[in-house]
């Protein structure tokens, strides 16, 4: 299992100029060690999305530093940020966001296309991942031929295709029914157990409780960090090795 820091935010501010300045993030310091499972909760407008965009290298902070996979995002230009995003971040969205005209296999292979990976290598890798998410028999289906749960599995496979440092999931079960939600979240657990760093944004407690800690955001600041023990997490996955998590990289609200 990889050790070290996957994502580190130091005193990050993000201010939007909408007539008057709006502080979407107002001094956030957060460290996410590799191999951990973090959930971010908070009401609308608390800065969840902004935080996601910053960690996902889609945006740059107004102030402070964001380090993803060892690279300081604030010092990178747009192109370098895109490369960093493509290689170190995997996205899972609430609305799945699959390319409608590409098959499941092609959707999973898409990120590698932009990294210049050859076609046959891409397809082999994509097939392998689809098998791991249980869709080995659906590789050539188009997104509209798949159920919501299956689509989200494809999206998860796509997020993992470049061996990312961190997987960002934005309300991954928001569009799924309870049963399917459990299936997809079980899959998250599976990859987490295999060493993948997970960051899930959600406003649902039972989704957040799958993580080993929950960061509560309020008005652009970290309100509190809730550490969950194995018992707090659901009992379905036995947790053995959770070393190097507690204490060391604990998030803390700044400006307090």
């Amino acid at each position: 299992m990889a050790t070290g820091t996957a994502v580190s935010l130091q005193n990050v501010r993000k201010t939007y100029q909408l007539g008057e300045p709006v502080h979407a993030l107002d001094g956030v310091t957060l460290e996410i060690p590799r191999g951990t499972y973090t959930a971010i909760m908070g009401p609308s407008g608390s800065g969840k999305s902004t935080l996601m965009n910053l960690v996902g290298c889609l945006d740059t902070p107004t102030d402070g530093t964001v380090v993803v996979g060892g690279e300081d995002v604030t010092t990178l230009d747009d192109r370098e940020r895109t490369t960093l995003r493509g290689t170190t971040v995997g996205f899972v969205f609430q609305t799945f966001n699959l390319m409608p005209r590409l098959s499941a296999l092609e959707n999973v292979a898409l990120p590698q296309l932009f990294q210049g990976v050859g076609r046959s290598t891409r397809r082999d890798r994509a097939r392998e991942l689809l098998e791991r998410v249980g869709l080995g028999d659906r590789t050539d289906h188009m997104p509209n031929e798949l159920s919501g749960g299956q689509r989200q599995r494809v999206a998860l496979a796509r997020a993992l295709v470049n061996d990312p440092t961190i997987v960002l999931a934005d309300e991954p079960s928001g569009n799924l029914d309870t049963d399917t939600e459990a299936d997809v979240l079980d899959l998250f657990d599976e990859f987490y157990d295999a060493g993948t760093t997970m960051l899930v944004v959600t406003h649902e407690r039972h989704v957040a409780e799958r993580a080993e800690r929950i960061v509560h955001l309020l008005d652009g600041r970290i309100e509190r960090v809730e550490e969950l023990d194995d018992a707090g997490r659901d009992s379905d996955v036995a947790q053995g090795q959770r070393d190097g998590v507690d204490g060391t990289g604990a998030a803390s609200g700044a400006d307090r």
Binding site: L58, N97, P111, F114
Partner: protein, 436 residues
């Protein structure tokens, strides 16, 4: 990202909107097809004309007298002004190898072995050199002063039995007189031998000006003042007495060689005499008429110029259709970019660079343009082929233009796709992912 991958994704996008893509390319198809069709026709027409000038013809100068303002091809507005004396004098001039008159004679019919074939104008009177040796399929030139004729294959094959060298042919002239000629030669083509005749194939009998033309003039003037006499009278002004002689509608001057310098020398020499007071022609020319003297190539050049002008005009109109077509592509690409904002966001989120997105949309526009160009070229060639078949000229494929059409397709694609693709490339992924 590789070009092939762009192509694959672009093709996917185009195929998913079949009807829309087809309608979008239609403008390009029509534009390119129009250009290719007209260029094919033009090139074929040109080849049909230029192909008719034989190297031996290059030293012949074709002259006629007309109002200098007259527009048109050879013999347009021509008045008969050249007398036999003029022709003789010109042939003696420096740099002139030979000079002879040219006169189409109206006929009623040709008769062979008792079989009559109506023929309104198939008789051409000229000097023996008019039948160039390279145009003779068999036999020889006619001789001046003899009742001999050279016929073309159209005449030879007109009767039940083929006319061959040595046969006799009876010609019924406009005035009702009949004259009999001995066929001494058959040409290899039914097309005209000079620009005077035009180039379309038709039955023609070539005879020496003496005796055929001189006789006809004599009989016409001896009769009721005849058409030639009245024609002469109108143009001759005060030139009485000249009308008694046979006047030729046109003159053919043969230079010593096809060399440009020799041709120019013969031209200057002949024109110098004809415009001097020594000639009979100068009397008839007066102030209104001037002698034009040009080679086949020069005469064709005029036709060519008109053809070129017409072609540029049509190509211009077709180009407008291309502009409209590219606006169509640009428009549909802009719609497409807006429609696929979310897809652009997804691609950027998973690591697509701006240039990847730009390349993707640009490729799509170029593919549309190239498909339009290919279909347009095929359609244009088909129309061109049908056209040349219809007007019966040899088909010449303008290969250069086919390459150009494809290049234009690419160019149209790039130009019309550039702005939409640029818009797509600079789409903010955060906004795009939120786009509904």
């Amino acid at each position: 990202m590789r070009p092939l991958e762009f192509g694959r994704l672009a093709w996917r996008a185009i195929r998913s909107h079949r009807l829309r893509s087809a309608l979008t390319t239609l403008g390009i198809v029509i534009g390119i097809a129009a250009v290719i069709a007209f260029v094919t026709l033009g090139a074929s027409l040109q080849a049909g004309l230029v192909g008719d000038i034989s190297p031996d013809d290059q030293r012949n100068l074709y002259g006629w007298a007309a109002d200098p303002d007259t527009e048109g091809g050879p013999l347009a507005g021509a008045q008969p002004v050249f007398s036999q004396d003029d022709l003789d004098a010109v042939s003696e001039r420096d740099g002139v190898d030979a000079a002879y008159g040219y006169m189409p004679i109206s006929t009623q019919a040709l008769v062979y072995e008792g079989e009559l074939s109506p023929q309104s104008d198939g008789l051409v009177a000229a000097g023996p050199p008019y039948i160039r040796p390279d145009t003779l399929e068999e036999g020889r030139q006619f001789e001046m002063g003899e009742r001999e004729a050279v016929i073309n294959p159209a005449v030879a094959g007109q009767f039940e039995e083929n006319v061959s060298v040595g046969d006799e042919l009876t010609i019924a002239l406009q005035g009702g007189q009949q004259t009999t000629v001995t066929v001494v030669g058959i040409t290899d083509t039914s097309e005209g031998l000079s620009p005077f005749e035009g180039f379309e194939p038709s039955p023609r009998v070539y005879v020496p000006t003496d005796p055929y033309y001189t006789e006809e003039v004599e009989s016409a003037t001896a009769g009721l003042g005849g058409e030639n006499a009245s024609e002469n009278g109108s143009s001759a002004g005060g030139g009485t007495g000249v009308g008694e002689d046979a006047l030729f509608l046109a003159i053919v001057v043969q230079a010593e060689s096809a060399d440009d310098a020799d041709v120019d020398r013969a031209r200057e020499s002949a024109l110098g005499y004809l415009e001097s007071d020594d000639s009979d022609a100068s009397e008839l020319l007066g102030d209104e008429l001037a002698v034009t003297m040009q080679t086949s190539t020069e005469l064709l050049q005029q036709l060519q110029d008109v053809l070129d002008l017409l072609q540029s005009f049509i190509v211009g109109i077709a180009a407008i259709s291309l502009v409209v077509g590219s606006i169509g592509i640009a428009n549909i690409m802009l719609v497409s970019v807006t429609e696929r904002t979310r897809e652009i966001g997804i691609m950027k989120a998973v690591g697509a660079q701006n240039r990847d997105v730009l390349g993707l949309f640009l490729t799509e526009a170029v593919v549309l343009g190239v498909i339009g160009a290919i279909l347009g070229t095929a359609l244009g060639l088909l129309v061109g082929y049908a056209g040349t078949w219809y007007i019966d000229i040899p088909l010449v494929y303008p290969y250069g233009y086919v390459a150009l059409a494809i290049a234009v397709g690419v160019l149209v694609g790039v130009l019309s796709g550039l702005y939409p693709a640029w818009r797509a490339a600079r789409t903010d992924p955060i906004d795009a992912l939120r786009y509904e």
